[in-house]
């Protein structure tokens, strides 16, 4: 039990359970299989984008541009589709565009060594402009049936996007825990100069991470477009960056890098999803929804901080 409490993610797990209990008391509909499926379904793209963001934050950076990258890729997929390109090829091309956006971020951050926040703030403007520009101001909609599969299809009775998300989460948990590339991310976030001395190419790893982040946003945007059924370039994903960042930090990540896990982040996303869904399910006045969401985010962070204080107590004389 004590060991369990020392797990990095313990506070957020407990807090999530408490919030879940609260909502189940408020509304009998909340803890239904159907609703749980719904919560998962609504947050698929968040889950996927958050994987990339976790890696970025582990490096000690942040990516404000994910929302705009999502808009660019979703819009271009829409354009490809309306030009009659096969859904699978269109999706693949869209993901490539996500990768391309990641490469742009990566180039400026890793190679030109401009601080992450400045680069992604800038590309946030740029990609959004490009997205709306190529859309010509119109909506991407009326997608062919074949494309809908990415958002709504079922494989062996399991929702296709959910399957993709689960596979991606599993792959990245494996990558982060069991491969040199994954451990390099942790080491750079923990102590950049030491990583360099250990022969790790900081620039290459950073570049890779931003490209992967772009790739993941690309995948997420295909699912997003197929699921929602229409894309408005000017607003698609506009609050995504902040929400995903909040999820990573709620999930135990540190904005200074080196600390955090994919699993924790996924819990953070789930927590946010539960809050958003639960507030509506329990028929809270619409005017209270975002106030309550913000309050719960702050509360979750306070709880995380408490844990850190508890852990660091009685460790006087430590280097860190």
């Amino acid at each position: 039990m004590k060991r369990l409490l020392n797990v990095h993610e313990a506070p957020i797990i407990i807090f999530t359970i408490l919030v879940t209990l609260l909502f189940s008391i408020l509304s009998p509909d909340f803890l239904q299989f159907e609703n749980i499926r719904l919560i998962l379904d609504q947050n698929i793209s968040m889950f996927i984008v958050a994987i990339g963001m976790t890696m970025v934050i582990l490096l000690g950076g942040m990516d404000l541009s994910v929302g705009s990258v999502l808009a660019v890729t979703a819009t271009s997929v829409g354009l490809f589709l309306s030009n009659g390109i096969h859904p699978w090829i269109a999706a693949a091309m869209g993901i490539c565009i996500g990768v391309l956006c990641g490469m742009v971020n990566g180039y400026f951050i890793a190679i030109r060594k401009i601080p992450d926040i400045i680069v992604t703030l800038a590309t946030m403007y740029i990609f959004r402009g490009i997205a709306v520009g190529i859309s010509g101001g119109t909506w991407m909609t009326n997608f062919p049936e074949g494309f809908r599969f990415f958002g709504q299809g079922y494989v062996l009775g399991i929702s296709f996007p959910l399957l993709i998300a689960v596979i991606l989460i599993a792959i990245f948990i494996y990558l982060m825990k069991f491969t040199r590339s994954g451990r390099r991310i942790y080491s750079i976030g923990g102590n950049g100069p030491a990583a360099k001395l250990a022969g790790i190419s900081v620039a290459r790893t950073k570049f890779k991470v931003y490209v992967l982040s772009g790739l993941l946003v690309g995948i997420a945007s295909v699912i997003f477009a197929a699921k929602v059924g229409s894309v408005q370039a000017s607003t698609a994903g506009s609050s995504l960056a902040f929400e995903v960042m909040a999820a990573v930090l709620i999930g135990g990540g540190s904005i200074f890098g080196g600390v955090g896990t994919i699993a924790g982040t996924m819990l953070g996303v789930l927590f946010m999803g539960i809050v958003k869904n639960g507030l509506i399910i329990s028929k809270v006045s619409p005017f209270w929804v975002s106030a309550a969401t913000g309050f719960l985010i702050i509360l979750a962070i306070v709880i995380n901080t408490l844990q850190r204080i508890r852990q660091n107590k009685g460790k006087e004389g430590d280097l860190v």
């Binding site: 719904l38 101001g137 119109t138 059924g229 894309v231 698609a236 609050s239 509506i280």
Partner: protein
């Protein structure tokens, strides 16, 4: 020093790009030199609520067409988000440019008051379109119908479809947006007066975010299993609701036609849903026509001509003028006529 030069160079390049952007963006722009021969050409500024939504893109086409037809110059621009202070900054900038008239779809009816006053002081005609700003110095308001009429029409449509009884949910773009409030209040009042058995269970807002609208609709179906109808008060809401309902029907959690949907949406966006029968009736007007009429009215005002009820507008037809308001009328989009719209 090299970096300095590079920075400046890029700055200049960026601005050149901008200048190119402006010329390609405006067909009637005289080669990027706006004030050339000011005596002959009149310039109008058309200012929607924001840039991005399909609705405004359709309006832009109409405005551009009017520009070509009337041989005037029209600038069509707005902030990327529906933010009234940014919108007003832009109007102020355009007043500096001494345009002949400004057509505004205000994000906040009260907030535009001061800038309209200033415009009047400079002799610039202001015409509001799509959304009104009563009690200001605007000269005319061009609309399909009043917000109240539209709201009532939506309420009537859904009331008829669900047989006058049951739960209805409202989906709006923003809880703070006035045209949304006016329409939904009118719909509520209409229910109270005509369909006392209809209960409006909640109002959810998407803040113009498609994914949020989609999630909202999902949550609505989950929360209110007895829900009979959804009204979407802005362009993004009906397609999101329809998408969710269609998926639920496909997944078997909802029966077909269990939830009726209506709302305001551009036909091209909801075409598939109307054909599938998920949306029976969609209320819309031609935003292009709206913009066209606005430009036309401004042009008339600039030339000192009179605006009369029943006046004939070339390429459009007659319009109804009631006091300071010009109405072009609404359209009901159904399965029968959905293919006949080009916007």
């Amino acid at each position: 020093m090299k970096k300095l030069a590079l920075t400046l160079l890029t700055g200049v390049l960026a601005l050149n790009l901008a200048a190119c952007g402006s010329t390609s963006g405006n067909q009637t722009d005289n080669g990027g030199k706006p004030n050339q021969g000011a005596s002959g050409s009149r310039t109008y500024f058309m200012n929607p609520k924001s840039i991005g939504p399909a609705y405004w893109a359709a309006a832009e086409k109409g405005a551009k067409k009017a520009a070509a037809d009337l041989k005037v110059e029209v600038l069509f621009n707005a902030p990327t988000e529906a933010d009234s202070s940014k919108q007003i900054n832009m109007i102020q900038d355009m007043l500096t440019r001494k345009v002949s008239g400004i057509g505004v779809s205000p994000n906040d009816a009260k907030a535009v008051g001061p800038v309209f006053k200033k415009a009047k002081g400079q002799g610039v005609n202001i015409v509001t379109w799509d959304s009104d700003a009563p009690d200001t110095e605007r000269q005319y308001y061009v609309a399909p119908a009043t917000d109240q009429e539209v709201g009532e029409l939506l309420a009537k449509t859904i009331g008829e479809e669900i047989g006058g009884k049951g739960q209805v949910a409202f989906m709006v773009a923003g809880l703070g947006s006035q045209n949304q409030i006016a329409k939904s209040d009118a719909a509520k009042a209409y229910f109270a007066a005509n369909y006392p058995d209809i209960e409006v269970v909640t109002t959810v807002a998407s803040d113009d975010d498609q994914q949020k609208a989609y999630a909202n609709a999902q949550n609505l179906l989950q929360t209110y299993p007895d829900l009979k109808g959804i009204i979407g008060f802005a362009g993004g809401e009906p397609p999101a609701a329809a998408e969710v309902v269609e998926q639920a029907v496909k997944a078997g959690t909802l029966e077909k036609n269990q939830v009726a949907i209506t709302g305001i949406a551009v036909p091209s966006v909801v075409k598939n849903y109307i054909k599938n029968g998920t949306i029976k009736t969609d209320i819309i007007w031609d935003p292009g026509k709206l913009a066209y009429v606005t430009v036309y009215i401004m042009d008339q005002l600039a030339q000192g001509k009179e605006i009369k009820d029943g006046m004939e507008i070339p390429n459009i037809g007659t319009v109804k003028v009631d006091g300071q308001s010009v109405f072009i009328g609404t359209l009901e989009v159904t399965n029968e006529n959905v293919d006949s719209f080009d916007f």
